[in-house]
């Protein structure tokens, strides 16, 4: 356990050895296992991974949204000098929607169908501040206008089902930012939306981040949107972080074979049209029975390069391969670089641009 004072000049957000496990009848589901990262104020971190990699559970653990009775949560989450995991739940509740806020994947189901959107936003204001009805409504109007909703005076009294998906996600963003939170967690904010709307939403999040100085964690399985937005990227696989790097470094010099696989499966305009997308074969591991060695080994094309079958028997450490670039892989550093360059070469005639 690291003492609180050690965090005095630490980054705004520090997650240390976070683990979330759910006891079920089939066994213990390890949804998140030993996740650590830090995030400076005002920066953007992207957490990337496929379904079941533990990225959403990580986000919900940060927000204190995981039922403490139903799950075993260990590790430390330091937000602006306060540790959240050991914090009494009613104090966490004070922070939620106030210091930290969250946008969810599906705006269709994330707004309550029975209440007008204006009432849902003012409810968020009143949860944290004593403020009169008319003032709260004015704030809600202002924020709805700020997130780009047309004809706000009319829309504020609309029910969610009367709005389009993109509009609903804007309402979610307005609701999340209404109390000027320091940290905004966006859990796949564009996945359920049309492609044209996706870019608008990401742009909106970015401009609001610049305006309010918000620190952002963007959770996605889409490496395509990460490149423009994030300062740093964390790649999760099988409940763990397998690679972490500044965005540029991750795209230029990916090292973990899984990250390579993700990059190869993005459709690209600059790729030869005859080339097929390269999917990652196989399925993600069961969170109940994770492989003994490297969790990615069953789907890895390169494990034979590691002598002594260590990929089968030994969990790789999370090691720094260059400053700020951490990788969890048994393949030696030089060989990884070589593999990455080969893959990127075959991907496109031009080099992968960020």
């Amino acid at each position: 356990m690291i003492q609180p004072e050690a965090y005095a000049d630490r980054p705004f957000l520090t997650v240390n050895d976070l683990a979330v496990a759910f006891p079920t009848e089939d066994g213990l589901v390890r949804a998140v296992d030993g996740v650590s990262f830090t995030l400076e104020k005002g920066k953007t971190l992207a957490i990337v991974g496929e379904s079941g990699s533990g990225k959403s559970v990580t986000a919900q653990a940060l927000m204190g949204l995981i039922n403490r009775k139903a799950a075993q949560i260990t590790g430390e989450i330091w937000l602006d000098g306060q540790e959240l995991i050991a914090m009494p739940i009613d104090e966490v509740q004070e922070l939620r929607g106030n210091e930290m806020a969250m946008i969810f994947q599906d705006p269709m189901s994330s707004l309550h169908p029975f209440y007008r959107i204006g009432d849902q936003i003012t409810e968020a204001i009143k949860a944290h501040r004593s403020i009169g009805n008319s003032l709260a409504r004015r704030e809600a109007l202002e924020m709805l206008r700020r997130v780009g909703i047309p004809a706000v005076e009319r829309r504020i009294d609309a029910y969610p089902h009367q709005l389009s998906g993109g509009m609903r996600q804007r309402v979610m963003i307005a609701m999340a930012l209404i109390n000027s939170p320091q940290l905004l967690i966006a859990d796949e904010p564009t996945t359920a939306l049309d492609v044209t709307v996706q870019a608008q939403i990401i742009e909106l999040i970015q401009s609001l981040q610049a305006e309010f100085g918000t620190t952002v964690i963007l959770i996605t399985h889409d490496l395509g949107i990460v490149a423009d937005v994030a300062d740093e990227v964390v790649v999760m696989y099988g409940a763990r972080i397998v690679e972490r790097a500044p965005t540029r470094a991750l795209y230029d010099r990916p090292e973990m074979p899984y990250t390579l696989g993700l990059l190869s499966s993005i459709p690209r305009m600059d790729r030869e049209p005859t080339k097929r997308l390269e999917p990652i074969r196989g399925n993600p591991p069961s969170p109940i029975k994770l492989p003994k060695g490297c969790v990615f080994q069953p789907r890895c094309n390169y494990f034979e390069r590691v002598p002594g079958g260590r990929c089968f028997t030994e969990r790789p450490e999370f090691l720094e391969s260059e400053p700020g670039h951490f990788v969890r892989c048994h393949i030696p550093h030089e060989e990884r670089e070589q593999i990455a360059q080969d893959v990127i070469q075959t991907l496109s005639t031009t080099s992968v641009s960020v």
Partner: protein, 330 residues
């Protein structure tokens, strides 16, 4: 909203019309000759023939039906060419020749009994069903949940007539806790009314309450896993507000609909309960009218109960529009 209401009422009238056609023709196809039943042992072919004419049964079915239908709106006169014509004023649902009484007045005498039976049972089952269902859901997986669910499973599995007979046996015959008075109106003698009704209420309510507990628990648990409940938590709302304003509000809405549909089950259950406890309600009336092939009475009761159920469904749908804005606008 108004257009919706008009559309629904028109649909309701249409449905009732089709229903009356179905009921009327269906019962006309039943075996048994009502004309024969009017005279019993004294029957001779000529008496039967005379009675058939008196009852209007010698006319084509379609004519019989139109007479029946117009009787509802303007009244009608039975055996007009006999020395003692029977006048039946609108709304005339028919005349029972086995009981020598207007169908409507027979029903009017029996209906309050069933009404009180249904209302009491309904209140008991809705209150216990919803409250225990919520209680079980909030204690999910822990012992209070298991106890409630276990008991509800027992009641759920017993047929209500079995439960009723056990209740009569122990409470009245064995232990003699309660007297077994006959039915009186609650306005005449409230104490005796309660003494009579409490057992049928419990029997009728127990099975339905068991259903209701399970359904409520399921709905509430489903509501808790909704995304918008998570959003409510993410806003930093106190847990009490999350549960009551966000989860329960959404989770209990479908139960309103289900309660309306339960009314049909309730009227079916009333047949059994009234016969077990000898209550002179519609349920007993149905059984005796069927055993005596009293066609006008059967038709009348069927139409009446069907109208009640159709009307209850309309009320439920309108209620639903009040609680769920998605229904309102669409």
């Amino acid at each position: 909203m108004f257009a919706y209401l008009v559309r629904r009422v028109i649909g309701m009238v249409l449905l009732l019309f089709l229903l009356s056609v179905a009921v009327f023709f269906l019962f006309n196809m039943l075996p048994g000759d009502p004309a024969r039943l009017t005279c019993g042992k004294a029957c001779t072919p000529s008496i039967i023939e005379a009675n058939r004419h008196r009852l209007g049964l010698d006319e084509p079915v379609v004519t019989q039906y139109t007479k029946f239908l117009s009787g509802i709106f303007v009244g009608r006169t039975f055996s007009p060419d006999s020395p003692e014509p029977i006048r039946c004023d609108a709304p005339c649902l028919g005349y029972s020749f086995t009981r020598h009484e207007e169908v409507l007045s027979i029903i009017a005498r029996a209906a309050p009994v069933t009404f009180w039976l249904a209302i009491g049972a309904f209140i008991i089952w809705i209150v216990t069903g919803i409250s225990l269902g919520i209680f079980a859901a909030l204690n999910r997986g822990r012992w209070p949940d298991r106890v409630v669910m276990g008991i509800s499973l027992i009641f759920y599995s017993f047929p209500s007539f079995f439960l009723g007979l056990i209740l009569i046996f122990f409470v009245i015959i064995r232990l003699q806790w309660l007297p077994f008075p006959s039915y009186v109106s609650p306005f005449d003698n409230p104490v005796q009314f309660l003494q009579t009704m409490i057992r049928p209420w419990l029997v009728l309510a127990s099975l339905q309450a068991a259903f209701c507990i399970r359904r409520t628990r399921r709905q509430v648990l489903d509501a808790f896993s909704e995304d918008y409940v998570r959003t409510a938590r993410a806003k930093g709302l106190p847990e009490r507000v999350v549960v009551v304003k966000h989860a329960l509000r959404a989770g209990l809405t479908p139960i309103v609909t289900a309660a309306g549909l339960d009314l049909a089950v309730l009227l079916g259950g009333a047949i059994i309960a009234e016969n077990i406890f000898s209550l002179p309600g519609l349920g007993s009336l149905v059984v005796s009218s069927v055993t005596s092939s009293d066609l006008p009475l059967i038709t009348g009761i069927t139409l009446l109960t069907a109208s009640i159920i159709i009307f209850a469904n309309l009320v439920v749908d309108l209620l639903y529009a009040v609680v769920d804005p998605r229904v309102r606008v669409g």
